[in-house]
Protein backbone atom coordinates (compact mmCIF):
# COMPACT_ATOMS: atom_id res chain seq x y z
CA UNK A 1 0.00 0.00 0.00
CA UNK A 2 1.17 3.52 -0.74
CA UNK A 3 0.29 6.60 1.30
CA UNK A 4 1.57 10.13 0.82
CA UNK A 5 3.22 12.02 3.64
CA UNK A 6 4.07 15.65 2.92
CA UNK A 7 3.75 14.87 -0.77
CA UNK A 8 6.17 11.94 -0.61
CA UNK A 9 4.93 8.48 -1.61
CA UNK A 10 5.58 6.03 1.22
CA UNK A 11 5.28 2.29 1.07
CA UNK A 12 3.62 0.66 4.08
CA UNK A 13 1.82 -2.38 5.39
CA UNK A 14 -1.78 -2.34 6.52
CA UNK A 15 -1.97 -1.79 10.29
CA UNK A 16 1.37 -0.03 10.59
CA UNK A 17 1.31 3.15 12.62
CA UNK A 18 1.72 6.43 10.79
CA UNK A 19 4.65 7.51 12.93
CA UNK A 20 6.52 4.31 12.07
CA UNK A 21 5.98 4.83 8.36
CA UNK A 22 7.06 8.45 8.53
CA UNK A 23 10.21 7.63 10.47
CA UNK A 24 11.18 4.90 8.03
CA UNK A 25 10.86 7.42 5.24
CA UNK A 26 12.98 10.00 6.95
CA UNK A 27 10.11 12.35 7.71
CA UNK A 28 10.43 14.17 11.00
CA UNK A 29 7.55 14.03 13.46
CA UNK A 30 8.33 15.21 16.97
CA UNK A 31 7.42 12.85 19.83
CA UNK A 32 7.77 12.79 23.58
CA UNK A 33 5.84 9.88 25.02
CA UNK A 34 6.48 7.41 22.24
CA UNK A 35 8.90 4.57 22.86
CA UNK A 36 9.32 1.71 20.41
CA UNK A 37 9.46 -0.80 23.25
CA UNK A 38 6.33 0.50 24.95
CA UNK A 39 3.96 1.58 22.18
CA UNK A 40 0.39 2.79 22.54
CA UNK A 41 1.01 5.50 25.11
CA UNK A 42 -0.45 8.45 23.15
CA UNK A 43 -0.33 10.81 26.09
CA UNK A 44 1.67 13.83 24.93
CA UNK A 45 -0.04 14.61 21.59
CA UNK A 46 3.12 16.21 20.25
CA UNK A 47 3.10 13.82 17.29
CA UNK A 48 -0.03 15.34 15.75
CA UNK A 49 -0.44 15.15 11.97
CA UNK A 50 -3.30 15.94 9.62
CA UNK A 51 -4.84 13.01 7.83
CA UNK A 52 -6.86 13.71 4.68
CA UNK A 53 -9.17 10.92 3.71
CA UNK A 54 -11.49 11.60 0.79
CA UNK A 55 -13.18 14.89 1.57
CA UNK A 56 -12.52 14.76 5.30
CA UNK A 57 -9.54 15.77 7.30
CA UNK A 58 -8.61 15.20 10.94
CA UNK A 59 -5.70 16.08 13.17
CA UNK A 60 -4.64 13.00 15.07
CA UNK A 61 -1.81 11.41 17.04
CA UNK A 62 0.40 9.63 14.50
CA UNK A 63 1.96 7.25 17.04
CA UNK A 64 -1.31 5.34 17.45
CA UNK A 65 -2.93 5.92 14.06
CA UNK A 66 -2.98 2.64 12.13
CA UNK A 67 -2.93 2.92 8.35
CA UNK A 68 -5.61 0.80 6.75
CA UNK A 69 -6.13 2.43 3.40
CA UNK A 70 -4.63 5.06 1.18
CA UNK A 71 -4.53 8.44 2.83
CA UNK A 72 -2.79 11.75 2.46
CA UNK A 73 -0.86 12.96 5.47
CA UNK A 74 0.59 16.31 6.31
CA UNK A 75 3.03 16.80 9.18
CA UNK A 76 3.25 20.55 8.76
CA UNK A 77 -0.06 21.98 7.64
CA UNK A 78 -1.38 25.16 9.19
CA UNK A 79 -3.76 23.15 11.36
CA UNK A 80 -0.99 20.86 12.58
CA UNK A 81 1.30 23.77 13.38
CA UNK A 82 -1.45 25.50 15.31
CA UNK A 83 -2.56 22.53 17.36
CA UNK A 84 0.91 21.12 17.96
CA UNK A 85 2.05 24.58 18.97
CA UNK A 86 -0.71 24.81 21.55
CA UNK A 87 0.01 21.30 22.87
CA UNK A 88 3.65 22.25 23.32
CA UNK A 89 2.77 25.57 24.94
CA UNK A 90 0.62 23.74 27.47
CA UNK A 91 3.28 21.12 28.09
CA UNK A 92 5.71 23.95 28.80
CA UNK A 93 3.36 25.11 31.56
CA UNK A 94 3.20 21.58 32.90
CA UNK A 95 6.96 21.06 32.74
CA UNK A 96 8.60 24.49 32.83
CA UNK A 97 11.91 22.97 33.92
CA UNK A 98 12.30 20.77 30.88
CA UNK A 99 14.90 21.86 28.39
CA UNK A 100 13.66 19.30 25.87
CA UNK A 101 10.24 20.89 25.81
CA UNK A 102 11.61 24.43 25.75
CA UNK A 103 13.67 23.51 22.69
CA UNK A 104 10.68 21.89 21.02
CA UNK A 105 8.61 24.99 21.68
CA UNK A 106 11.30 27.01 19.98
CA UNK A 107 11.69 24.63 17.04
CA UNK A 108 7.99 24.19 16.36
CA UNK A 109 6.83 27.72 17.11
CA UNK A 110 4.73 27.31 20.23
CA UNK A 111 2.82 30.46 21.16
CA UNK A 112 3.40 32.17 24.52
CA UNK A 113 0.37 31.91 26.75
CA UNK A 114 0.64 34.60 29.35
CA UNK A 115 -2.55 33.93 31.27
CA UNK A 116 -1.43 30.50 32.47
CA UNK A 117 1.04 29.82 35.24
CA UNK A 118 3.31 26.78 35.53
CA UNK A 119 1.72 23.95 37.52
CA UNK A 120 4.86 23.41 39.58
CA UNK A 121 7.85 25.69 39.07
CA UNK A 122 10.84 23.85 37.69
CA UNK A 123 8.95 20.59 37.18
CA UNK A 124 10.11 18.50 34.25
CA UNK A 125 7.53 15.73 34.24
CA UNK A 126 4.69 15.70 31.70
CA UNK A 127 2.99 12.76 33.42
CA UNK A 128 3.11 10.62 30.30
CA UNK A 129 3.41 7.44 32.36
CA UNK A 130 6.18 5.92 30.29
CA UNK A 131 8.44 5.40 33.32
CA UNK A 132 5.92 3.46 35.35
CA UNK A 133 5.08 1.29 32.36
CA UNK A 134 8.75 0.54 31.80
CA UNK A 135 9.07 -0.37 35.47
CA UNK A 136 5.98 -2.57 35.42
CA UNK A 137 6.94 -4.26 32.16
CA UNK A 138 10.19 -5.38 33.77
CA UNK A 139 8.19 -6.90 36.59
CA UNK A 140 9.37 -4.44 39.23
CA UNK A 141 6.40 -2.09 39.55
CA UNK A 142 8.18 0.13 42.04
CA UNK A 143 6.80 3.47 40.81
CA UNK A 144 3.31 4.61 39.90
CA UNK A 145 1.36 7.75 39.14
CA UNK A 146 0.06 8.99 42.48
CA UNK A 147 -2.77 11.34 43.44
CA UNK A 148 -4.76 12.93 40.63
CA UNK A 149 -5.64 16.13 38.85
CA UNK A 150 -3.23 18.98 39.39
CA UNK A 151 -1.58 17.07 42.23
CA UNK A 152 -0.69 14.05 40.18
CA UNK A 153 2.94 12.97 40.20
CA UNK A 154 5.12 9.92 39.76
CA UNK A 155 6.60 8.34 42.83
CA UNK A 156 7.10 5.37 45.11
CA UNK A 157 4.60 4.34 47.80
CA UNK A 158 4.72 6.71 50.78
CA UNK A 159 7.46 8.63 48.94
CA UNK A 160 9.92 6.26 50.54
CA UNK A 161 12.56 3.92 49.11
CA UNK A 162 10.75 0.97 47.55
CA UNK A 163 11.73 -2.65 48.16
CA UNK A 164 10.56 -3.40 44.61
CA UNK A 165 13.10 -1.04 43.01
CA UNK A 166 16.25 -2.74 41.71
CA UNK A 167 17.91 0.47 40.57
CA UNK A 168 17.94 -0.58 36.94
CA UNK A 169 17.41 3.00 35.80
CA UNK A 170 14.94 2.04 33.07
CA UNK A 171 12.53 4.76 34.19
CA UNK A 172 15.19 7.45 33.85
CA UNK A 173 16.24 5.95 30.53
CA UNK A 174 12.79 6.09 28.91
CA UNK A 175 11.79 9.45 30.36
CA UNK A 176 11.56 11.88 27.45
CA UNK A 177 12.18 14.96 29.56
CA UNK A 178 14.91 13.84 31.94
CA UNK A 179 12.57 14.25 34.87
CA UNK A 180 13.86 11.33 36.92
CA UNK A 181 16.92 12.00 38.98
CA UNK A 182 19.54 9.31 38.90
CA UNK A 183 23.11 9.72 40.04
CA UNK A 184 26.02 7.30 39.55
CA UNK A 185 28.87 8.29 41.79
CA UNK A 186 31.81 6.40 43.30
CA UNK A 187 30.33 3.04 42.41
CA UNK A 188 26.94 3.86 43.89
CA UNK A 189 23.70 4.66 42.10
CA UNK A 190 21.12 6.85 43.81
CA UNK A 191 17.57 6.74 42.47
CA UNK A 192 14.11 7.06 44.06
CA UNK A 193 15.70 7.59 47.44
CA UNK A 194 17.61 4.29 47.41
CA UNK A 195 21.28 3.54 46.97
CA UNK A 196 22.59 0.63 44.92
CA UNK A 197 26.10 -0.69 44.49
CA UNK A 198 27.14 -0.66 40.84
CA UNK A 199 28.69 -3.66 39.13
CA UNK A 200 31.27 -3.34 36.35
CA UNK A 201 32.25 -5.98 33.81
CA UNK A 202 35.27 -7.88 35.15
CA UNK A 203 36.74 -8.12 31.66
CA UNK A 204 36.30 -4.70 30.08
CA UNK A 205 35.25 -2.60 33.07
CA UNK A 206 32.04 -1.36 31.48
CA UNK A 207 29.13 -0.55 33.77
CA UNK A 208 26.62 -3.40 33.71
CA UNK A 209 24.11 -2.39 36.36
CA UNK A 210 23.33 -2.58 40.04
CA UNK A 211 23.79 -5.64 42.23
CA UNK A 212 20.02 -6.04 42.54
CA UNK A 213 19.64 -5.75 38.79
CA UNK A 214 22.26 -8.47 38.27
CA UNK A 215 20.36 -10.75 40.60
CA UNK A 216 17.07 -10.08 38.82
CA UNK A 217 18.67 -10.66 35.41
CA UNK A 218 20.37 -13.85 36.60
CA UNK A 219 23.79 -12.53 35.69
CA UNK A 220 26.20 -14.27 38.04
CA UNK A 221 29.51 -14.06 36.19
CA UNK A 222 29.83 -10.25 36.18
CA UNK A 223 30.42 -10.10 32.43
CA UNK A 224 28.80 -7.58 30.14
CA UNK A 225 26.96 -8.58 26.95
CA UNK A 226 30.02 -8.01 24.80
CA UNK A 227 32.51 -10.01 26.85
Amino acid sequence: MIITIDGKACECEKGEFLLQVAKRNGIDIPTLCHHDGLPGQAACRVCLVEVKDGGRSQVTASCVFPVDHEIEVSTNSRKVKEERGMVLALLRMRAPGSEVIANMCEAYGAPKIGRLKPVVDGDKCILCGLCKRACASLGNGAIETLMRGTQKYVGTPYDQPSADCIGCGSCAEVCPTGAIEMKDEKGVRTIWGSEFRLVYCRECGKLIGTEEYMKAAGNTDDLCDDC
Binding site: K132, G141, D164
Partner: protein
Protein backbone atom coordinates in the same frame (compact mmCIF):
# COMPACT_ATOMS: atom_id res chain seq x y z
CA UNK B 1 -4.46 -7.50 66.90
CA UNK B 2 -4.69 -5.24 63.89
CA UNK B 3 -2.91 -7.82 61.83
CA UNK B 4 -5.57 -10.43 62.45
CA UNK B 5 -8.45 -8.15 61.54
CA UNK B 6 -6.65 -7.08 58.39
CA UNK B 7 -6.20 -10.70 57.39
CA UNK B 8 -9.85 -11.37 58.07
CA UNK B 9 -10.92 -8.48 55.85
CA UNK B 10 -8.60 -9.57 53.08
CA UNK B 11 -9.57 -13.23 53.26
CA UNK B 12 -13.20 -12.39 52.57
CA UNK B 13 -12.21 -11.87 48.96
CA UNK B 14 -10.76 -14.13 46.25
CA UNK B 15 -7.10 -13.69 45.39
CA UNK B 16 -7.75 -11.57 42.33
CA UNK B 17 -6.60 -8.10 41.46
CA UNK B 18 -10.11 -6.89 40.67
CA UNK B 19 -11.17 -7.22 44.30
CA UNK B 20 -8.44 -4.91 45.54
CA UNK B 21 -10.65 -1.83 45.60
CA UNK B 22 -13.41 -3.60 47.51
CA UNK B 23 -10.92 -4.78 50.13
CA UNK B 24 -9.51 -1.28 50.50
CA UNK B 25 -13.04 0.08 50.98
CA UNK B 26 -13.61 -2.46 53.74
CA UNK B 27 -10.37 -1.46 55.42
CA UNK B 28 -11.34 2.17 55.10
CA UNK B 29 -14.68 1.46 56.74
CA UNK B 30 -13.15 -0.49 59.58
CA UNK B 31 -10.14 1.68 60.39
CA UNK B 32 -11.25 4.99 58.87
CA UNK B 33 -8.08 4.72 56.81
CA UNK B 34 -5.93 2.14 55.05
CA UNK B 35 -3.04 1.02 57.22
CA UNK B 36 0.27 0.55 55.48
CA UNK B 37 0.38 -3.01 56.69
CA UNK B 38 -2.99 -3.55 55.02
CA UNK B 39 -1.72 -2.38 51.65
CA UNK B 40 1.27 -4.67 51.92
CA UNK B 41 -0.76 -7.72 52.93
CA UNK B 42 -3.29 -7.01 50.19
CA UNK B 43 -0.59 -6.75 47.54
CA UNK B 44 0.58 -10.21 48.53
CA UNK B 45 -2.97 -11.55 48.54
CA UNK B 46 -4.01 -10.39 45.07
CA UNK B 47 -0.52 -10.69 43.59
CA UNK B 48 0.25 -7.12 42.59
CA UNK B 49 2.72 -4.46 43.63
CA UNK B 50 2.23 -2.14 46.58
CA UNK B 51 2.77 0.82 44.25
CA UNK B 52 -0.31 -0.14 42.24
CA UNK B 53 -2.53 -0.22 45.31
CA UNK B 54 -0.96 2.94 46.67
CA UNK B 55 -1.73 4.63 43.37
CA UNK B 56 -5.39 3.61 43.69
CA UNK B 57 -5.54 4.64 47.32
CA UNK B 58 -4.27 8.12 46.48
CA UNK B 59 -6.57 8.40 43.47
CA UNK B 60 -9.93 7.81 45.13
CA UNK B 61 -11.25 10.46 47.49
CA UNK B 62 -13.15 7.80 49.43
CA UNK B 63 -9.88 6.17 50.47
CA UNK B 64 -7.47 7.68 52.92
CA UNK B 65 -3.96 6.79 54.00
CA UNK B 66 -4.11 8.78 57.19
CA UNK B 67 -6.53 8.06 60.02
CA UNK B 68 -9.72 10.03 59.62
CA UNK B 69 -12.13 11.21 62.23
CA UNK B 70 -15.12 9.26 63.48
CA UNK B 71 -17.38 11.76 61.76
CA UNK B 72 -16.64 12.97 58.27
CA UNK B 73 -17.84 16.45 57.43
CA UNK B 74 -18.09 16.94 53.70
CA UNK B 75 -18.47 20.53 52.75
CA UNK B 76 -19.40 21.24 49.18
CA UNK B 77 -17.36 23.89 47.45
CA UNK B 78 -18.79 23.34 43.99
CA UNK B 79 -19.87 26.34 41.93
CA UNK B 80 -23.33 26.76 43.44
CA UNK B 81 -22.20 26.22 47.03
CA UNK B 82 -19.17 28.41 46.53
CA UNK B 83 -21.33 31.30 45.34
CA UNK B 84 -23.66 30.78 48.26
CA UNK B 85 -20.89 31.17 50.76
CA UNK B 86 -19.27 27.82 51.45
CA UNK B 87 -16.06 29.67 52.22
CA UNK B 88 -17.74 31.25 55.24
CA UNK B 89 -18.65 27.78 56.42
CA UNK B 90 -15.05 26.63 56.07
CA UNK B 91 -14.05 29.47 58.37
CA UNK B 92 -16.97 28.72 60.68
CA UNK B 93 -15.97 25.08 61.04
CA UNK B 94 -12.41 26.16 61.61
CA UNK B 95 -13.58 28.36 64.49
CA UNK B 96 -15.77 25.60 65.94
CA UNK B 97 -13.38 22.69 65.59
CA UNK B 98 -10.01 24.20 64.81
CA UNK B 99 -9.49 22.21 61.62
CA UNK B 100 -8.92 23.19 58.01
CA UNK B 101 -10.01 21.13 55.00
CA UNK B 102 -8.21 17.78 54.97
CA UNK B 103 -7.51 17.90 58.70
CA UNK B 104 -8.77 15.86 61.63
CA UNK B 105 -9.49 17.13 65.14
CA UNK B 106 -7.04 16.07 67.80
CA UNK B 107 -9.64 13.98 69.61
CA UNK B 108 -10.20 12.05 66.37
CA UNK B 109 -13.89 12.99 66.27
CA UNK B 110 -14.14 15.06 63.09
CA UNK B 111 -12.48 15.26 59.70
CA UNK B 112 -13.29 18.11 57.34
CA UNK B 113 -13.24 17.49 53.62
CA UNK B 114 -14.05 19.78 50.74
CA UNK B 115 -15.89 18.16 47.86
CA UNK B 116 -16.64 19.53 44.46
CA UNK B 117 -20.31 18.73 44.02
CA UNK B 118 -22.78 16.62 45.92
CA UNK B 119 -25.40 16.79 43.21
CA UNK B 120 -27.80 18.80 45.33
CA UNK B 121 -27.07 22.33 44.21
CA UNK B 122 -30.66 23.41 44.89
CA UNK B 123 -29.82 23.06 48.58
CA UNK B 124 -26.64 25.12 48.35
CA UNK B 125 -24.62 25.52 50.42
CA UNK B 126 -24.61 21.87 51.40
CA UNK B 127 -22.82 20.11 54.22
CA UNK B 128 -22.91 16.37 54.80
CA UNK B 129 -21.97 14.80 58.10
CA UNK B 130 -21.46 11.07 57.73
CA UNK B 131 -24.59 10.19 55.73
CA UNK B 132 -26.84 13.11 56.71
CA UNK B 133 -27.37 16.06 54.39
CA UNK B 134 -27.74 19.58 55.75
CA UNK B 135 -28.99 21.97 53.08
CA UNK B 136 -29.13 25.77 52.95
CA UNK B 137 -26.44 25.85 55.59
CA UNK B 138 -25.71 28.98 57.56
CA UNK B 139 -23.08 29.89 60.10
CA UNK B 140 -25.84 30.06 62.72
CA UNK B 141 -26.81 26.43 62.20
CA UNK B 142 -23.26 25.13 62.54
CA UNK B 143 -22.80 24.97 66.34
CA UNK B 144 -26.00 23.04 67.02
CA UNK B 145 -25.44 20.52 64.24
CA UNK B 146 -21.86 19.84 65.25
CA UNK B 147 -22.97 19.82 68.87
CA UNK B 148 -25.27 16.88 68.18
CA UNK B 149 -22.37 14.77 66.98
CA UNK B 150 -20.21 15.89 69.89
CA UNK B 151 -22.91 14.81 72.34
CA UNK B 152 -23.21 11.49 70.62
CA UNK B 153 -19.51 11.01 71.18
CA UNK B 154 -19.86 11.38 74.92
Amino acid sequence: MADKILKEIIDRYPRERRYALAVMQDMQRHYSYIPREGLELLAGHVGCKVAELYSMATFYKALSLKPRGKHIIKLCNGTACHIRGSVNLINGINRELGIAPGETTEDGEFTLELVNCLGSCALAPVMVVDETYYGKMTLEKLPSILGEYRKEAK
